[in-house]
Amino acid sequence: MLFFAIAVAGLFIADIAITTANPWRDLGQFFIGVATPNFFSTEGLMTALLRTVAFGFVGVTLGSLCGFLLALVYRFMPVRIFCAFIRAIHELFWALIFLQFFGFHPLTGVLAIAIPYAGIFAKVYSEILDESDPEPSRLLPPGTGAIAAFLYARIPDCWVQLRTYTAYRLECGLRSSAILGFVGLPTLGFYLESSFSQGLYSDAGAMLILFYVLIATMPLWVKPKLLPFYILAAPFFLGEGFPIVWGNVERFFTEDIVPSPLRNGEGLAGLSTWLGDLMVTEALPGIWNTIVLTQIALVATGILSLLAFPLISKHFGGPVRRTSGHVFLVIARSTPEYILAYILLQLWGPSMLPAVVALALHNGGIIGHLIGRQTNTIELRPDAPTGFTRYSWELVPRVYRSFLAFLFYRWEIIMRETAILGILGIYTLGFYVDSAIQNIQFDRAMILILITASLNIGVDILGRYIRRKLALQTMPTC
């Protein structure tokens, strides 16, 4: 209730408006574009698709390996903090950072995915490993090496879960990889942005369709037997990029990100005025907008997922309805929110509205899907009521707890996304980060990114606290 009230209050403060004179015409043109896709527009389209897959694979592979190693030492506090920190920074921010010194080298894209993913993998892997049955390890003959014990008694027990989660993350990785194109890496987003900003909706439609097909057919082409082949081949398809100049790396860390008052020898006094100015003019408005937007999007997500889950629930409607419901939810959840927000911003003009709708559609699609699937395992008594009564008396009460669990789990994810949407021109933290980078003020950008990260960590802790308080359990989603 409290959350709902906050969101309603947020609505009054927030800037939501359709500023386009003719939004529906644009939206119509966009749908016509999707209906008449032009697959032969850009010569680079197939290459972009290939690069998207390649960056996804290499990034996720590297991330999962590092994450696995981190998971082994995850019980140590510094490791936990480190992992929380690296996963609190969005892939796009990482990419923006690496672009400053690696430039258009494939490493930029690979690390932008691998680093935050390593943090997430470390956390989830360690949770999975902790849940494995401890009994077999206790029974091993004393003197068994730690590694052998781990290989025999721990890994096999959670192997399936580790694999399922990694495969799921691979899908997320493809989405992340596509988005990286928006900041200039040679993946799908690069061409999508170009086509959209020029109003070439048929080209953009073709790219979106190809992307959905790519994601939807993953079970067909990602087979355990083929994985080694993909992982070996992927690095060859990252593209050449430009050689790394190591001097740039050194310069970035020793000069660029050093706050300018320190660089110019103005000392601590200069630093505090500088920081104060940064806080007042950029950080605080950014934090405020980020929080407002996050809360509205969170509640909108909740409402949408409650509305959406009957679409795929077997307790409502026939197979035709359910199939179309599935298609809708698949599209909603496999479109990265960044792309959704970008599309809606192009169509409706800049305000918080497109961001809220995009976040709610994407996250509501995910939660709706999970909850809907959960209702399919519920067996109702034969004389159970039908229609709305069935919905409100039989189903919602049964799934309400896991619904809340998912929602609070995604709280932090929504906030991370909200911050990043600022790059598109909504005044959240990402806007100020992007502005600082556009002005070549990396010191400011770094401080703002750190603030964003701490905000995410804070919400993560709060969300976890609430879930524990309400005794809610979930599997991680992305």
């Binding site: 400053q100 430039g103 928006f182 690095p235 990029g241 430009f242 100049v245 992007d434 556009q438």
Partner: protein
């Protein structure tokens, strides 16, 4: 299971290194600020790449980037050696790369100007100074790092109203580039916008503007704008006198189709000092330190 994975990882990591270290070493690479529709930029600068490659007898490659900052960063990081910058981005880039210099500018870039344009619903008409009537309207700049899309319009708005754009207008946005500014004001997403006159005239000539929906309300005074800027260390890398060869090639560019694609009448020599006015305005607005 584990050993297999480690092996896979080692092999693929090694291959990644091999694959990336063979990237081209002696290609002369240039970029341009993404101030217009990308298709147009790619078409224009591929032509330039072919031309330069012929004149300089080295491989020349153009890379498109997604933002002004990306162009500056690529130049600073020596991943590109030459760039077609705007006034402001050129000043920023040259400040970051000691020894780099403005080589050539378009004939028109000596006294470039901007149009403020407005959607018909505002009822605003062309005037000799920025009309008071734009107060309270919505307004879009081009890119955050643009001279004619951001710096000069903001400068004139502050001069005229003595206030920040955020307080003059009810909403301030950044369209991304000049073409987008035109489209957004034409469609009424924003009431008012400011853009580079060259883009306006080129689009007008191509019949891409519905002049019933959008019109010019003010023309700014002139300022120095676009220029080719080159890194100071190109001679070390591509041979003695390379910088001069590039300058010559640019100044001698007389292919009408190529010039038309910019569109510029031709290129004339430029120097870093030509952009001092831009630097001081940017510094006044706090865009550069």
């Amino acid at each position: 299971m584990n050993i297999k994975q480690i092996r896979k990882w080692l092999v693929s990591g090694f291959l990644a290194l091999v694959a990336t270290s063979t990237a081209t070493a002696q290609t002369f690479v240039f970029t341009a600020i993404p101030d217009e529709d990308e298709t147009r930029l790619v078409e224009r600068f591929r032509g330039i790449a072919d031309y330069l490659s012929e004149q300089l007898e080295v491989d020349v490659r153009y890379i498109p980037v997604k933002s002004y900052a990306a162009a500056i960063t690529a130049f600073r990081n020596n991943q590109v050696q030459l760039a077609w910058f705007g006034g402001l981005s050129g000043v920023q880039a040259r400040a970051l790369v000691p020894g780099s210099e403005a080589l050539a500018q378009g004939v028109e870039d000596q006294a470039f100007y901007n149009y403020f344009i407005a959607h018909k619903s505002t009822g605003l008409d062309r005037a000799d100074e920025l009309p008071e009537g734009i107060r309270g309207k919505t307004f879009t700049f081009g890119s955050k790092g643009s001279t004619s899309g951001r710096l000069i319009p903001e400068y004139h708005i502050r001069e005229r109203f003595n206030e920040a754009p955020e307080t003059v207008f009810s909403r301030v946005g950044f369209s991304g580039n000049h073409t987008r500014t035109l489209r957004l004001v034409e469609s009424g997403t924003y009431d008012v916008g400011a853009l580079n006159y060259k883009v306006w005239e080129k689009e007008l000539e191509d019949g891409n503007i519905n002049t019933n929906d959008v019109k010019i309300i003010w023309k700014t005074p002139g300022f120095p704008n676009y220029q080719w800027t080159i890194r100071g260390d190109v001679d070390d890398r591509f041979g003695e006198g390379f910088k001069e060869k590039v300058r010559e090639a640019l100044l001698n560019l007389d292919d009408p189709a190529l010039l038309e694609s910019f569109p510029r009448e031709g290129f004339i020599p430029a120097s870093n000092d030509d952009y001092e006015p831009i630097r001081s305005v940017a510094s006044e607005l706090g865009i550069i330190d």
